[in-house]
């Protein structure tokens, strides 16, 4: 049996009079890395915010770890990284982790473990505002990992990172998935798609494909995900 961390049914989200998500049916399985790909502005962030429970839904349903999204008892179990690093610039890396760790009620040892996971041990006593953009987003990621979440939602976590670090982070995502967590990552960089177990392609608030990277290439007769995406978009416009 596949254990799904997230299941949506006919999920519809309306913001400021615009339909941002159109009747989405999708699942994010536990124990694997699921990628959410699509051009910017297609609704990726809104979908992630809905799963995390900070975005109200118009109709349909979102179930997260067997509970409706936004339930109070889910707050311990989800790690969420927004596009902008949501951390305090005027505190050091360690002070940030200590504060969020106190809110989550985790043991002090977790701070060291999470710093190691994002490779920030050396910078731990530096003020976040003086770090590079990539380092700041890793602080934000470390905060998301503090509570040993069952579901990790990452909104474009690798933007602005160098290739070595990106590779390293994808390694971390796979470790988390291997340990049983569901990892849900968005990106508009198509070459990152290859590293996901499963891909959801999104366009204008709808899911236009849900497959493995291999499956997508085979189905469209292409050699890379970018061409596969374009081929599917073209196919849709013909219909």
């Amino acid at each position: 049996m596949v254990n799904n961390a997230v299941e949506t049914q006919a999920l519809r989200v309306v913001r400021g009079g615009n339909v941002v998500l159109r009747d989405l049916d999708l699942v994010v399985p536990a124990g694997s890395v699921t990628g959410l790909l699509g051009p910017s502005g297609c609704g990726k962030s809104t979908l992630m915010r809905t799963i995390v429970g900070v975005q109200a839904i118009a109709s349909g349903s979102v179930s997260v770890l067997g509970r409706p999204a936004g339930s109070a008892d889910l707050r311990h179990r989800i790690g969420y990284v927004t596009q902008s690093a949501s951390v305090y610039d005027d505190l050091t890396v360690r002070e940030n982790l200590r504060f969020f760790g106190q809110v989550l009620g985790v043991r002090a040892e977790r701070i060291r473990t999470c710093l190691e996971q994002v490779d920030l041990v050396q910078q731990s006593d530096q003020v976040v505002g003086r770090l590079s953009g990539g380092q700041r987003s890793r602080v934000s990621l470390a905060v998301a990992l503090l509570g040993e979440p069952d579901l990790v939602v990452l909104d474009e976590p690798t933007v602005g990172l160098d290739p070595v670090l990106r590779q390293q982070l994808w390694g971390t995502f796979h470790e988390l998935a291997a340990a049983g967590a569901a990892v849900f990552v968005s990106s508009h960089v198509m070459d990152e798609a290859e590293r996901c177990h499963r891909l959801l392609l999104m366009r204008e608030g709808a899911i236009i494909a849900d497959d493995t990277p291999d499956g997508l290439r085979r189905r469209t007769g292409t050699t890379d995900i970018e061409s596969a995406f374009l081929s599917i978009v073209k196919g849709e416009e013909v219909h």
Binding site: Q55, G70, A72, Y80, S86, L91, E95
Partner: protein, 242 residues
């Protein structure tokens, strides 16, 4: 409400202030400098009349500004959204801010009151510690109102402009310029509805050592306004956006 989380928020806010040396210096030195300026400007009699009211104004104004800007920063930087997606109660968040700024106000007022009484010769008939207590209540009031109005500002530029809208009318009507019972009836009535009026009454009450019951009543009203402000602030913190 979880005390562990409330204390974590308060500790974090104090840590942020501690790292910001310029803000810390202004918080502690500015009220003292302004009291000294006042003492220098006026003769002893006028200074004694105005001094207590000003000791009520500083913590209120400063905490209003500091809180509205810092909370707005939490709202726009995404840290508030992150905290509300964690097991953080709204009252933990607001209470943590109120506690941290209340402590800062305690130190700030202790310095300003100490300087005024010991060095500048401000005449206080009632217990001096009560001046500090009223000042702390004022600071929490400023914090509560600042938290509330920050919900209606999208930028720090807008937040700062709530000061002339919310704070200055209260300063004009609190009895500092014209005694409250000498105002036109309508303005006197409005003055009765504004929290700062009671804060100033309480300060002047302590200075002149009028009936302790009356001072306690005024102080109670200030605390009630602060609690109402925090409750309204809690309503403006939303876990979900529409």
């Amino acid at each position: 409400m979880t005390p562990r989380i409330l204390l974590a928020v308060a500790g974090r806010v104090l840590n942020q202030i501690r790292r910001d040396h310029r803000t810390l210096a202004m918080l502690l030195v500015l009220p003292c400098a302004l009291m000294t300026l006042l003492w220098w400007m006026f003769d002893d009699l006028t200074f004694r009349a105005l001094g207590p009211a000003l000791l009520a104004l500083f913590p209120f104004i400063i905490m209003f500004l500091v809180t509205s800007v810092t909370t707005l920063r939490e709202r726009t930087s995404g840290t508030l959204e992150r905290l509300l997606a964690m097991p953080m109660g709204k009252l933990d968040f607001l209470g943590g801010y109120a506690l941290a700024f209340g402590l800062v106000a305690a130190v700030q007022s202790a310095l300003a009151v100490g300087l005024s009484v010991l060095v500048l010769g401000l005449d206080v008939q009632g217990p001096v510690w009560m001046l500090t207590l009223v000042a702390i209540a004022d600071a929490v009031l400023g914090t509560a109102l600042g938290l509330f109005v920050s919900a209606f500002a999208r930028t720090e530029f807008q937040a700062v402009q709530f000061m002339p809208a919310v704070v200055i009318p209260q300063i004009l009507l609190c009895g500092l310029f014209v005694a409250r019972d000498a105002m036109p009836a309508v303005l006197g009535f409005i003055s009765d509805l504004l929290p700062l009026s009671y804060a100033v009454d309480a300060m002047q009450g302590v200075a002149q050592d009028i009936d302790l019951a009356e001072i306690t009543r005024d102080l109670g009203i200030v605390v009630a306004f602060a609690a109402a402000g925090l409750a309204l602030g809690a309503v403006t913190l939303r876990r979900q956006s529409a």
